[in-house]
Symmetry: C2
Subunit: 214 residues, 2 copies
């Protein structure tokens, strides 16, 4: 099946949102925790977290500040300078999904969705107690993407809490052991099963794939 630029542009809006949000493949399932200066906590599901670098350890995520339901999240990050990123475990995918509803600013998604605030390390922003991986972040900068007025929010990792059973001695994280989930498009949640692990790839150690072709 083939869609070209014009097919995509003229597609009904909902179908286009569904297709384009899911066409890149699986996305990491996370919740961003924040708290306003007057103490209102906020929690938002996010599937656009991306690795930017390991030293310093930097992560980005994408949002559209004008129309995004995560605008409270962004306001809290700008005003307090901190936020948390928490893996979604397969036991609470429904709770995580409903944090995307447009609750009024004075409703905490933690309470509305049955998740628990947890505080560590003197971080002002709440972690999600039920999450198998909790990351404490310091805000660094926002970069505007000119093509569509989207913003990439860049932050630095300050703290990581993780179940040590999921870490190998080389610090590989096993996502199957953690039961962390992936998100497809806007509404689908996927379990992860590890099917392969390969060494760092070097040309002279590459298997001979040339005979395997059909």
């Amino acid at each position: 099946m083939h869609f070209d630029f014009t097919d995509i542009r003229e597609m009904p809006k909902i179908q286009r949102l569904n297709l384009i949000n899911s066409i890149t493949g699986i996305k990491p399932g996370n919740l961003i925790g924040t708290k306003s200066n007057d103490g209102q906590s906020n929690l938002a599901v996010i599937s656009s977290i991306v690795h930017l670098g390991s030293n310093p350890a930097l992560l980005g995520f994408i949002l559209r500040p004008q129309i995004d339901v995560r605008r409270h999240t962004y306001e809290n990050i700008l005003s307090t300078g901190v936020y948390t990123i928490n893996h979604i475990h397969e036991d609470f995918i429904a709770q995580a999904h409903y944090t995307s509803a447009k609750f009024p600013a004075d409703v905490s998604e933690f309470k509305a969705c049955g998740l628990t605030e947890e505080y560590h390390n003197a971080c002002y922003a709440p972690f999600v107690k039920e999450s198998p991986v909790q990351i404490g972040m310091k805000y660094l900068e926002s970069m505007k993407i000119e093509a569509n007025n989207t913003v990439m929010v860049v932050g630095q990792i300050e703290h990581i809490h993780i179940d040590e059973h999921a870490l190998s001695k080389e610090n590989y994280v096993n996502l199957e052991t953690l039961k962390s989930v992936g998100i497809g498009g806007l509404n689908s949640y996927y379990r992860l099963s590890k099917i392969g692990e390969f060494p760092y790839a070097r040309p002279h150690e590459t298997p001979d794939f040339t005979n395997e072709k059909k």
Copy 2:
């Protein structure tokens, strides 16, 4: 288990790379296909593709042009203005992984890794014939991330080829049907099994999670 900013900074390099590359959760497994102006094709595994917007349909990915093994990819994108994004199917995870080896510029990873170039729609860049989803991209802009000299490459979707069995009538893409894979960290590949699908979330339709708390 807890790591703070200093623990991360002082960790041996390989352990830090492993931890920070995998801490965000699952990442989409894709191959980027390009071709130089003098006809040399290139293929590179990439796990940092991120959705930027649906109308226009924009995608980004992250790379570090100075040191990245994907520098040939970036040079080809800048000089030809086009590239392809192709899902990794679970049948060719080893082939996909070894495209990350630093082959010389005159070696095509398609050939070295046993994958097949395919051309559609007068697109100069090669698609991966074995991929269940093929996306033709037009390059738009590169944005420098000041904090670590990384670049986000932004492009527009021009073409999508997808197996129609994996598309619902609302254009939801089923990643389990496609057998597309996710990547954990730098070296782990995961199968995807759909475990939940939820409607668009509205506050007044949110289930009562408040009684489910332990």
